[in-house]
Amino acid sequence: MEELILELKKEIIDVLNLEGMTPADIDENAPLFGEGLGLDSIDALELIVLMEKNYGIKLANANEGKEIFKSVRVMAEYIQEHRTK
């Protein structure tokens, strides 16, 4: 799990173009949206693409992302459970 969390952090930094950030700067238990990292609806869509492309998880509705993207840890747990690649 910790390995997946680190991998995810790297991917998030890359796909969201969070310049100057390192995985250590992201608290895996902090919210990704609003407070915490402060991401928005477009970032959520980018994370949906990331999950589909890298882990084969397809979300039908953007609203499903709200629960999954609560934190990096929640996201990693979801991926662990649902990944197809």
Binding site: E19, S41, I42, L45, E46, V49, E52
Partner: protein, 760 residues
């Protein structure tokens, strides 16, 4: 002045070609949303509002040869435009000054996405390269009507493009520049924007249900619609029958988010309020609202809240007609204006099909069935675009009493400041003393350090051009207050991100696409990003009309200042160049080959210029201070004028400023080293002012669709510094001291021309 009336309308959508068919289906409550047929995409699950004619059938309808090189956007536009001009009895020329303003975003993308591989690897489809941009689409449409038009331009504010075209047209009539304006928009479906909207996850797999609690997004549509507008007196003079009045309009920016609407619908609220104020009507006078109503969760909720803020407990009957046609994006403002006018004239309210349950928090419900025999005096129609480009228009029955009050302002207008990022030292005037002299056709942009202007989190989604635009905006604004308008010219928009989206769509078989790239491919993302950064809710517009994109923006600002609508405006020109697009344009003769030097450019013996990016923002105000760069004493734009007409226009500008030709210290011209381009400039100089020193600038800033912005910039800076350095002088070798009045002349392909008079 007397009010503005509509004397012609034309429309084509999935409902069919022309008003008769449109009206019949609207009244029958017949949706025209179905499976996609003409666009080759794997997204067959997404229903669309497709025009029921193939390109071939549209050509037949227009009596064109099937081999004609033309994009679908232009074909649709021509069908609608012809109907509008025909009804207004304008197909033959009686000497009216007619302007043509068209809204468009897709441009030639529907062909580019099919031929992109050819563009990159062979010469089979080169004729479509020049048709890619939005302005080309307008240009082709204008061509059918010969020398009919006085000015043509293209507005690209995504889904409010056509509404903003209506607004500019009306302003040009009020200001006295035009007798008649042909205004509206056109858009065809493309694989590019079907996939783009799909990445935003806002496309419904069922026919859309605007304002329904269980709505699931929008259906894309395609179509075109144009209105012919003119003053009531002008229509009466030429015996044209008025259909209704355009009694008010408003444009505002939500300045909240690149795609989402603010929770309280601020931009929509301001746009509707401005339109009401402009018309002199009270909220209770509005009998029907043709809503933007896309069917997305966000739009319908927030538009509803904005309507409740404007109209209180008595929201008038509302419907969104996108349930009939799909969302025709750039054409929507025109399509829904024509539908509103049909409703007004035929006394019915089109249904908001598919509605079942009220949205939580809304106090109104939309009209869910067609209502006949209803007297409609005033109709408000909304058009909102990505980036919060929100506009509203009000159409009124002729037997209502509403006079437009126009109080012309005789305030002078000044260029207060300007900032540039280009191949020269960024955010600096180092080019004035010590220019970087390019030695090849492709030139890299020198990027400044953006961190003083843009926070890292805000920068995460910004492509280079967006960063440049924001940095030049903040720099130009300096300590000045919030501008009342932000107007941006960009021929191609963020072409880098457009290419990224297009390439990955083609390479990955329409999978794993990034919404960020799509979002930034809409041209108005630049102007709205600047507004977002400054939190500016004022007028916001984007012009994408090839080599006069910046000129159109400046003209819009000046016209609004003369009409007393604004006192300040941030006017920008934003263009970037990618290696791939550079190569494509190179194939059709845009660039010089091999090593380049200034003398080769000056001689202009062959075709081709050198390329340069352009990011420039300038602040215009109606008052001046010690740091003011110069005054703008006049401007005009012309479409396909001869050299006599250009001279007469220059004379008129000088006359109005109380000047004579001899008072011009220098003329700034866009000489680029391309023989065809430069011939036009030389001919004007020879004809009009053979002895006047010529300033050029493309030898150090390069050529791009927005390069003309540098012409005005260079003119302003030299006036401010009391000196034209020798390196900027085309036809003399020593410095020119104490310039007092400078004429700036720009043209694109000898079609679109502009003249601007700058004074110390």
């Amino acid at each position: 002045m007397d009010r503005i009336v509509v004397t012609g309308t034309g429309i084509i959508t999935s409902l069919g070609a022309g008003k008769v068919e449109t009206l019949r289906k609207l009244r029958a409550g017949e949706r025209a949303i179905g499976p996609i047929r003409h666009v080759q995409t794997k997204h067959a699950e997404l229903p669309v509002g497709e025009v029921p004619y193939s390109d071939e059938q549209l050509k037949e309808l227009l009596h064109y040869r099937s081999s004609e090189t033309i994009t679908r956007t232009s074909l649709l536009g021509r069908v609608a435009m012809r109907e509008a001009l025909d009804e207004a009895e304008l197909l033959t020329d009686h000497g009216e000054r007619v302007v043509f303003i068209s809204g468009n975003t897709v441009g030639g993308m529907e062909k580019s996405e099919q031929y992109y591989h050819d563009f990159l690897t062979n010469n089979d489809r080169n004729e479509y390269i020049a048709l890619h941009d939005c302005g080309a689409c307008t240009d082709i449409m204008a061509k059918e009507f010969g020398g009919r038009f006085d000015i043509i331009t293209t507005i690209s504010t995504a889904c409010s493009s056509a509404a903003n075209a209506i607004i500019l047209g009306a302003n040009l009539i009020k200001e006295g520049r035009a007798d008649v304006a042909v205004v509206g928009g056109t858009e065809c479906l493309s694989k590019f924007h079907i996939n783009g909207f799909n990445t935003l996850m806002i496309l419904d797999k069922e026919p859309c249900r605007p304002f329904d609690a269980n709505r699931h997004g929008l259906n894309l549509g395609e179509g075109a619609a144009y209105l012919v507008i003119e003053s009531e007196a002008h229509a009466a003079r030429r015996g044209a029958k008025a259909i209704c009045a355009l009694s008010g309009y408003g444009n505002a920016c939500d300045a909240f988010h690149q795609t989402a609407t603010s929770p309280n619908g601020e931009g929509a609220f301001i746009a509707m309020s401005k339109a009401l104020a402009d018309s002199g009507l009270r909220p209770e006078d509005i009998d029907y609202i043709n809503a933007h109503g896309t069917g997305t969760g966000n739009n319908d909720e927030c538009e509803g809240i904005a309507m409740m803020r404007v109209f209180g407990e008595k929201v008038p009957p509302v419907s969104s007609t996108k349930c009939y046609t799909g969302h025709t994006t750039s054409a929507a403002g025109g399509v829904e204006s024509v539908i509103s006018i049909l409703a007004l004239v035929h006394h019915f309210i089109p249904a908001n099909l598919g509605y079942k349950d009220q949205i939580e928090g809304h106090t109104f419900t939309p009209v869910d069935h067609v209502v006949e025999n209803v007297e409609l005096k005033h109709i408000l129609t909304n058009s909102f675009g990505f980036g919060g480009n929100d506009s509203s228009c009000i159409f009124s029955a002729l037997d209502t009493d509403n006079k437009s009050v126009v109080v012309m302002s005789d305030n002078r207008c000044y260029v207060q400041s300007a900032a540039q990022i280009s191949m020269q030292q960024p955010l600096s005037e180092a080019w004035f003393e010590d220019p970087i002299v390019p030695t090849q056709a492709f030139n890299e942009t020198i990027e400044p350090n953006y961190s003083p202007y843009i926070a890292p989190m805000a920068a995460r989604r910004m492509g280079k051009l967006l960063k440049r635009a924001v940095a030049t905006a903040v720099n130009a604004l300096g300590a000045h207050g919030m501008p009342e308008a932000i107007i941006t010219g960009t021929g191609l928009g963020c072409i880098d991100n457009t290419e990224k989206f297009l390439t990955s769509m083609l390479d990955n078989d329409e999978e794993f696409l990034h919404p960020t790239y799509f979002m930034q491919s809409t041209h108005n993302t630049i102007s709205s990003q600047v507004a977002l950064h400054l939190k500016c809710h004022g007028y916001n517009c984007t012009y994408s009309h090839r080599g006069t994109s910046f000129d159109s923006s400046l003209y819009d600002a000046l016209v609004q200042m003369r009409l007393g609508l604004i006192r300040s405006a941030l006017v920008g020109g934003q263009e970037e160049m990618t290696p791939a697009y550079f190569d494509m344009l190179g194939k059709i003769g845009y660039w010089k080959q091999g090593a380049v030097d200034t003398e080769t450019l000056r001689r202009a013996e062959q075709g081709g210029a050198i390329s340069g990016s352009c990011s420039l923002n300038m602040l215009l105000e109606t008052n001046c201070d010690a740091d003011t760069l110069c005054a703008v004493d006049g401007m005009d734009m012309l479409y396909e004028p001869d050299v006599e007409a250009l001279g007469a226009t220059a004379d008129r500008l000088l006359q109005r400023a109380g000047l004579a030709k001899e008072d011009i210290s220098a003329v700034v011209m866009g000489l680029s080293g391309d023989c065809d381009n430069d011939r036009v400039y030389r001919s004007f100089a020879r004809h009009y002012c053979p002895q006047t020193p010529i300033i050029w600038y493309k030898h150090i800033f390069g050529e791009s669709f927005c390069a003309s912005a540098f012409g005005i910039y260079v003119g302003a800076v030299t006036l401010h510094r009391n000196l034209v350095p020798a390196h900027l002088l085309y036809n003399r070798k020593d410095n020119l001291c104490n310039p007092t009045h400078i004429l700036v002349y720009n043209h694109f392909h000898d079609k679109d021309h502009s003249l601007i008079l700058l004074s110390k």
